[in-house]
């Protein structure tokens, strides 16, 4: 795109661009740092060093501290988002990948890739409370809105495991598509959506009876199924729309939740890996694992606005406003 074209695009999008605010915190696996991108200026404003191989990040339920899971350091770096300073480190077990908090914020549920376990840890001390054996290479972790269940994917077993949080017991294994990755839950808590990286699809699970009720095939004109490798997924607060990063297909997909139909696709960077939505739900931040950048997508226009270079092998973004 020429410079003139970019300027024109920005002008056209001005009404939405003004609404974009806050900062995207982007973890990058290879340089042990978090890159902060100001969403209004659409530029990098700071780079914070953190623990080794930072990947999954999540705000604690208080919204004040960001937990950054580091696969190489085996800890979570806890960063105060106001001061942007590390305030502590919590052990997370061997090779932690993804995690979620219990609804009261007192526990962390983390997938331990090497062991094939879901660890239930005390969020303050990192003390291991329970370890639940599950399939190899567990990945996505999600706590149900009522806090009673935690869902985990196993990439190798192609299963979603349902674990009871109170008893730390495995309740059910649900067979989904190949290499399941990440979750989104509808706001009413009734449907669990999971991306299947090697299935080019999203499985929809009823949380009532833990059965797969539907599978949404992801398609893109000109791309073959094997090039569509979805990972990241998020849903709007009203539960009307889901956004899925399509991996090697280099696009992000918009899916209408009610009809389960793919409505829009937007070209972003290489191996689009993760999606994050801002609070106003006007902008998507797409993390591109193989082009070392993030793409800001205007939701209303279903258009990429700008790509911003971040650290090496970016993993995901958390938007803090």
């Amino acid at each position: 795109m020429t410079r003139a074209a970019i300027v024109t695009t920005c002008l056209l999008l001005a009404p939405w661009a003004v609404l974009a605010q806050g900062t995207a915190w982007v973890s990058s696996e290879k340089d042990h740092a978090i890159t902060l991108v100001d969403l209004k200026a659409q530029a990098v404003v700071a780079v914070l060093p953190t623990c080794k191989r930072p990947r999954h990040m999540q705000l604690a339920p208080d919204g004040k501290r960001l937990y950054v899971a580091c696969g190489e350091s085996n800890v979570a770096d806890v960063i105060d988002v106001a001061t942007r300073k590390s305030v502590g480190r919590v052990p997370l077990g061997d090779d932690p990948e993804a995690f979620d908090f219990s609804t009261d914020g007192k526990q962390i549920y983390v997938s331990s890739e090497d062991e094939g376990e879901l660890l239930m840890l005390d969020a303050a001390s990192g003390k291991k409370l329970h370890a639940v054996t599950i399939g190899k290479e567990p990945e996505g972790v999600k706590t149900s809105p009522d806090g009673k269940r935690v869902y985990v994917t196993s990439e190798v077993a192609s299963l979603v495991h349902v674990i009871d949080t109170a008893s730390a017991k495995l309740l059910k294994n649900i067979a989904v598509g190949k290499r399941p990755r990440r979750f989104a839950i509808t706001p009413d808590g009734s449907q669990l959506w999971v991306t299947n990286e090697l299935g080019a699809s999203v499985s929809i699970i009823s949380t009532q009876d833990h059965r797969v009720i539907d599978t949404v095939k992801l398609e893109l004109k000109g791309a073959r199924a094997e090039d569509i490798t979805p990972v990241g997924i998020t849903m709007g607060r009203d539960g009307k729309r889901a956004y899925v990063a399509m991996g090697r297909a280099n696009h992000v997909a918009f899916i209408d939740v009610a009809s389960r139909k793919l409505t829009h696709t937007v070209l972003v960077g290489k191996r689009a890996w993760h999606v994050a939505l801002n609070q106003a739900e006007t902008q998507l931040v797409v993390t591109n694992g193989l082009s070392d950048d993030i793409t800001l997508v205007d939701v209303a226009g279903a258009k990429a606005v700008k790509s911003v270079a971040v650290g090496r092998v970016p993993y995901m973004a958390v938007i803090i406003e």
Partner: protein, 390 residues
Amino acid sequence: MKLAMRSWCLVAAVLLGAGTAWAATTPVKVALLLRVDDPRLERNRVERAYLGHPGGPASDALQMAFKDAAFELDAAGLALALDVLPVADPASARAAAQRADQSGAVALVTDLDAAATLAVADAVQRPVLNVGAADDRLREGDCRARLWHMLPSERMRSDALAQALVARRWTQLLLLVGPSETDALRSATALASIKRYGLKLVASKPFKLSADPRERDLANPLLLTGNASYDAVWVVDSDGEFARGLPYRTALPRPVVGDAGLVALAWHAQFERYGAPQVSRRFAKATGRAMTAQDWAAWIAGKALVAAAIAAKGKPAAAFEQALAGGAVDGSKGTAMGFRPWDGQLRQPLLLSDGVGVVGSAPADGVLHPKNTLDTLGADAPEKLCKARS
């Protein structure tokens, strides 16, 4: 190396909660046939660690695949039992295969040479999973309807290299070919790939390992690579010793590819993407050695067997074979992989390695195919080279 005459290994994990009882789990039997005193695994050869050569017995990675799947097998109320059968020659391979068949093995895995692999395939009416023979003839003229190949064929490997050379526009090639029969076959395959991808052969020369001054034209890298202009030297050396000494000893400052320099492989322990490091790490933890391409082939055979066993649980024997043939496996190479119906070969991306790391992968960017880009590596359907499957 010596192997126990026969070792049964039962892989079934601890039971989680209530459900199927131990006694109710009848193990699904799988037999692995490998070479007695495998010459490829002699200490001296393993220590050299030539690229593309095996690093240990196929049982290592097969066991790992079953262990990896302990949770799923258990959830399905299944267990897999592996029977390891060392054999000396095609005749004993045939006898061992028949014994395994009679004892109820649902599938046989072979890490044997081409002749013994065929002896096994012809002895039983069961699926045979080849994890050790890359010979093109097993996928072409000597293919079998129930023979499945996990290891990429020689042609897939040479196509992968040819694609890499085209992508870099290193089109003028000097081919050096070793003295063995295998080298002759593999150089014909290399020439076919060179032709398929429009590369140019500057010259093809035989080489020989020798310190005899009278044979220096055949043995000296400088003399072999002098008096010619080329972009790269492609060396075909199934033994490995000559090729190991070729890079940096060519007359012109040009890269070496083939069996040293840049090598196309099914796997390399340094591969960093698609969850590969976890697989290599688990393997190194379990065996104390780096995971090779042959190990990957054995591991993916194990994964295919597990998937078929779970899919065909409680169904007649034919269902197992159907599930195996039609299934897709995840080999941590970034894409789901299925078998080519026309020759039983597992389609897969290949890695290009210099031995230190992974330099690239094939299919190369920009290579196109009307149906599946992975089918640009190896024999494609329209060639109709395997009559037994047409």
